[in-house]
């Protein structure tokens, strides 16, 4: 049973999607319990995979029992296992959190929404677990198509945002496919482990270089790396709360994981950092991305749009950290993946709660929210402190490693940008905290402030938000354990 865990991780959400669709057509009331049940099974499956990998090292599963270069293979090592588990818990918490919003906004469309959501989760998990570069393309497209439709569910402005996302996203996936084609022509294989043994003799071939460049460009488009980030703010800020809570923390990070896989498991670190020679350029580009994301975020009134620009800055942290090419940078970047998934999950869930209770997502809807929704706003504060990088949240640890890595590599633009980003995030965060603590509605007088009642979001929304916020603290406090058990084994430097 245990050796079948990798395929279980894909089969559970896939079959839940089909079950939710079929049951939902028969009786719409059955969709939600099916989805929640499927997600719980998924969490247990990924937890089982994580524990098995921690105990016995890399897991390999050949589909249909076909041996390696002939068949498609699922490979789970420590990096994968952690990301799989994160995707599962993000999906579970996001779905539970969005039950009231779905009931209010999407009542007749519940069945398509939950089906698409489960397909999105399948695609994300598939990208993470597969050991075959063409299979990654298939999973990229599954994820992307589900996201296009989910973003468009919101109607209105979201239609144009989804259209823009389709055009840009398809080009990105097309570049990735073209790059895979170049590599396939030269090597004849698509399997990651097999390519790792074939490619070293071909490092001076132009076709391989171009292939890597095309794959990198395609992935940069998909992960919204500045300056290819144009689709992200519109797509995630116009979409509904439930969609952005699940898609925003996960989609771009999984693309980043794919880039890391290609860099260290398909190609060697020797090729990526020494032969290619683009590290300095990419680290400088990341520094620009970090500052640009921060500056754009400062201009926003809408909280969700501001968070999407912060995502762009965070992608800059991680891309820069990976391309620094030294040990601290990579540890910091990989740890930041964990950190960012949880922080963005927490913040997007909070914004969704705020929109549910107050009807809007702009900064000015936060007035006095600390009095009305204390638990949600506490989670908001913890999430925001992670963005700034205040100990003991996990943001501090990843920033520490990234800045150390930047200084060690001699690329001083990167640590400077990171520190500037912390300051910009501090302005953004404290601006919002000030409004939520101190600003008064016109009709309020100092005496009536005493009478503000707590009007918190429903329990089903508050509990996941608080759990994720406390996870940020837990991950921060136990960061050394996580780094030693999960990250150090797979860093090849």
């Amino acid at each position: 049973m245990e050796s079948q865990l990798p395929i279980f991780v894909i089969l559970v959400p896939l079959f839940t999607a089909f079950a939710a669709c079929l049951l939902g057509i028969a009786h719409p009331k059955f969709t939600l319990p099916t989805v929640i049940g499927g997600l719980f099974m998924l969490v247990f499956a990924t937890l089982g995979t994580l524990l098995k990998v921690l105990e016995s090292g890399t897991l390999r599963y050949g589909l249909g029992n076909w041996p390696r270069p002939v068949g498609i293979e699922f490979v789970v090592d420590e990096l994968n296992a952690m990301l799989l588990f994160l995707i599962a818990i993000a999906a579970l918490f996001g779905t539970v959190h969005s039950i009231p919003v779905v009931r209010r906004d999407l009542d007749e469309q519940q069945v398509p929404f939950y089906t698409l959501l489960m397909l999105l989760i399948t695609g994300l998990l598939g990208m993470t677990i597969t050991g075959d570069i063409f299979n990654i393309y298939v999973m990229i497209e599954i994820t992307a198509l589900s996201t296009y439709a989910l973003v468009a569910l919101a109607g209105g402005r979201a239609y144009m945002a989804a259209f823009q996302y389709i055009i840009i996203g398809s080009i990105g996936a097309g570049f990735y496919l073209l790059g895979v084609g170049f590599i396939y022509i030269k090597t004849g294989s698509l399997n990651i482990a097999h390519l790792h043994t074939i490619l070293p003799s071909l490092y001076d071939s132009t076709a391989i270089l171009v292939g890597f460049g095309l794959i990198l460009t395609g992935l940069f488009i998909k992960m919204a790396m500045f300056p290819l980030h144009g689709w992200l703010p519109n797509a995630y800020s116009t979409s509904l709360g439930p969609v952005s809570s699940i898609a925003a923390p996960l989609a771009t990070k999984v693309m980043l994981y794919v880039m890391l896989r290609i860099m260290i498991s398909v190609f060697d670190p020797h090729f990526t950092f020494e032969i290619l020679g683009i590290s300095t350029f990419l680290v400088t580009l990341s520094a620009v991305a970090i500052v640009a994301g921060g500056v754009y975020a400062l201009a926003q009134t809408d909280i969700k749009r501001m968070l999407t620009y912060i995502i762009i800055a965070e992608i800059g942290y991680m891309v820069g950290g990976i391309w620094l090419g030294n040990h601290s940078g990579m540890v910091g970047a990989v740890f930041h993946i964990i950190n960012d998934v949880l922080a963005m999950l927490c913040l997007f869930m909070v914004v969704s709660s705020i929109e549910f209770k107050t009807g809007g997502q702009s900064r000015w809807h936060l007035k006095r929210l600390f009095a009305k929704m204390p638990f949600t706003m506490t989670a908001f504060c913890i999430g925001c402190f992670t963005l700034i990088g205040i100990p003991p949240t996990s943001g501090f640890v990843s920033k520490w490693y990234l800045i150390t890595g930047g200084i060690e590599a001699g690329q001083f633009a990167f640590p400077a940008a990171l520190i500037a980003a912390s300051l910009i995030n501090a302005i953004l965060v404290f601006r919002m905290i000030e409004i939520s603590h101190c600003h008064m509605e016109r009709a309020m007088t100092p005496e009536s402030l005493e009478d503000i009642e707590m009007d918190e979001a429903p329990l089903v929304m508050v509990v996941p938000t608080l759990i994720v916020a406390s996870l940020l603290l837990v991950v921060g406090l136990s960061s050394q354990t996580i780094i030693n058990r999960l990250i150090l084994p797979i860093i090849p430097l």
Binding site: Y148, A152, Y159, M160, F163, I166, I167, Y184
Partner: protein, 112 residues
């Protein structure tokens, strides 16, 4: 695709891009003088005799075109069709909401 303002033309541009990638892969599967990738058996009927024969002789790979890119591109074609479907439905919704298929008019309506 970037230059044209009409939404349909953007979608056509995207479709041309995807088709070009498909052609690229298929082109790599050809060899000079190769035929379609279906094995030629001396007609003997079915049975275990047939299977034993199959295992014994090595296949002369230069005679057949490489079937793997064809298989990969089947997936890519399906993906392209699905994306085209979603894009066209979105254009229809956009037309219903904004009454136009031209990007600049839509952006003007969106921004005030």
């Amino acid at each position: 695709m970037i230059v044209k303002k009409n939404l349909f033309k953007k979608v056509i541009g995207m479709a041309i891009f995807q088709t070009a990638t498909i052609f690229f892969y298929i082109g790599t599967s050809f060899k000079k003088g190769a035929t379609i990738p279906i094995l030629e058996h001396h007609a003997e009927g079915h049975g275990d005799h047939h299977i034993a024969d199959h295992a014994a002789t090595a296949i002369e790979s230069t005679l057949y075109a490489n079937p793997l890119p064809h298989v990969l591109m089947l997936t890519a074609i399906v993906v392209g069709v699905a994306t085209l479907g979603v894009a066209l439905v979105l254009i229809e919704r956009i037309y219903e909401t904004y009454g136009s298929n031209e990007e600049d008019e839509i952006l003007r309506k969106l921004n005030h």
